[in-house]
Symmetry: C2
Subunit: 225 residues, 2 copies
């Protein structure tokens, strides 16, 4: 009954991953997809991005601008087993579930769900003033502190030395405020691979959004198999 290795020759599931930041660099575009393929060899991920939003989604206005683009992109995409909206805000996820017959997975809802395994009080660490809806819905009034590290305005600020310092300081602050778990709330945090570093500094679980969305995608695919 074992089917070890099916993953090599013929990955089971074909996944479409939507980046909500406009990226012309192929390597940057594919980064979340490659992380997911690394974690879950049975998933084969193709990435596409929305156009004309080089700074991604970082407030309500940029989200509203992005939603119709995400819906159009997803609806035109054929031959997929599941679709991932690789953004902690879960933009268009609700709308797409109503329109598509395949599973739709958001980074935010996945990260929040998995964070509940590890504690009762949550720090949400992202790049927006407002805590993304998936985290608010899942954690309710069990969120400590606020979401935004100092000096961070968009996902582009994260890879800098200053950006990483600021994220680390925020994580320590959230722990100090009583967070038992930190749920990262920007997939740019996965791109810079900071979850593990933060765990080493804070000594509490830190949930990585791209790993989380990949896990829930794999679960959805297994459930449909």
């Amino acid at each position: 009954m074992t089917n070890k290795g099916v993953g090599i020759l013929n990955p089971h599931f074909k996944i479409g991953l939507i980046r909500v930041v406009t990226l012309s660099d192929e390597q940057m575009l594919n980064l979340h997809g490659q992380l997911i393929e690394h974690y879950f060899p049975e998933l084969q991920v193709e990435s596409r991005c929305i156009d004309a939003q080089p700074t991604g989604i970082h407030d309500e206005q940029t989200e509203q601008l992005a939603v119709p683009k995400i819906i159009k992109l997803a609806k035109e995409w054929q031959g997929l087993d599941a679709i991932v909206v690789s953004c902690a805000n879960d933009p268009a996820v609700k709308e797409l579930r109503e329109e598509l017959s395949i599973p739709v997975i958001g980074a935010g809802e996945s990260t929040a769900l998995l964070a509940t395994r590890y504690g009762q009080t949550f720090g949400v660490l992202g790049i927006t003033e407002e805590i993304p809806r998936g985290y608010r819905k899942t954690f309710g009034d069990r969120i400590v502190g606020n979401c935004l590290p100092e000096g961070i305005h968009s996902t582009l600020d994260l890879p800098t030395t200053e950006g990483k310092k600021s994220v680390t300081a925020k994580a320590l602050e959230l722990k100090e405020l009583g967070a038992e778990v930190i749920a990262l709330a920007c997939t740019g945090m996965s791109t810079i691979g900071i979850a593990k570093e933060l765990e080493q500094v804070c000594h509490i679980p830190v949930i990585d959004p791209v790993m989380a969305e990949g896990l829930m995608t794999y679960f959805e695919c297994l459930r449909k198999e």
Copy 2:
């Protein structure tokens, strides 16, 4: 960066799986482990069972009898990346987390956690009068109906034609009572592979405990990698 196929030649993670029913038949003993290896080719699962409990855990007395045996078995087991207690009651899971340095995963807590992805009201379908603690803790007052199908007294009643009929009738009853999701609450339900059949009859998500414990085990392993 892709590492497709590592699963074939050298499964990443070594998992110990504890069956809480005494099984002398090697094939029966390994059934949950083989299901997990099928779903997650990167996990290599060895199964062991507790002794002198041929009808498993099905009430408080049989659980109390099992807990020290599970703890002893787990503590003596070396060389593992994670340990799974493959029972919806999560017996000894809390105790083992305090004693072991590797992740400990219970079937019940995993199933309940994943069920929350799919709705707001929950049917819990198992083999015990009382709803197992992991489900009560996660769902709180959002549980509809009770847990026990008619005529089912232990995991041994499940594989019979009557047993399957009774489980199906219970699932339909829970849906009728308003369940948006059914969380199966006995790993014997996975052994008979009934989740998919129930979904086809009930048209609501039905969460399989062995798939759920496997998913959370894989997540724990990835997080520690």
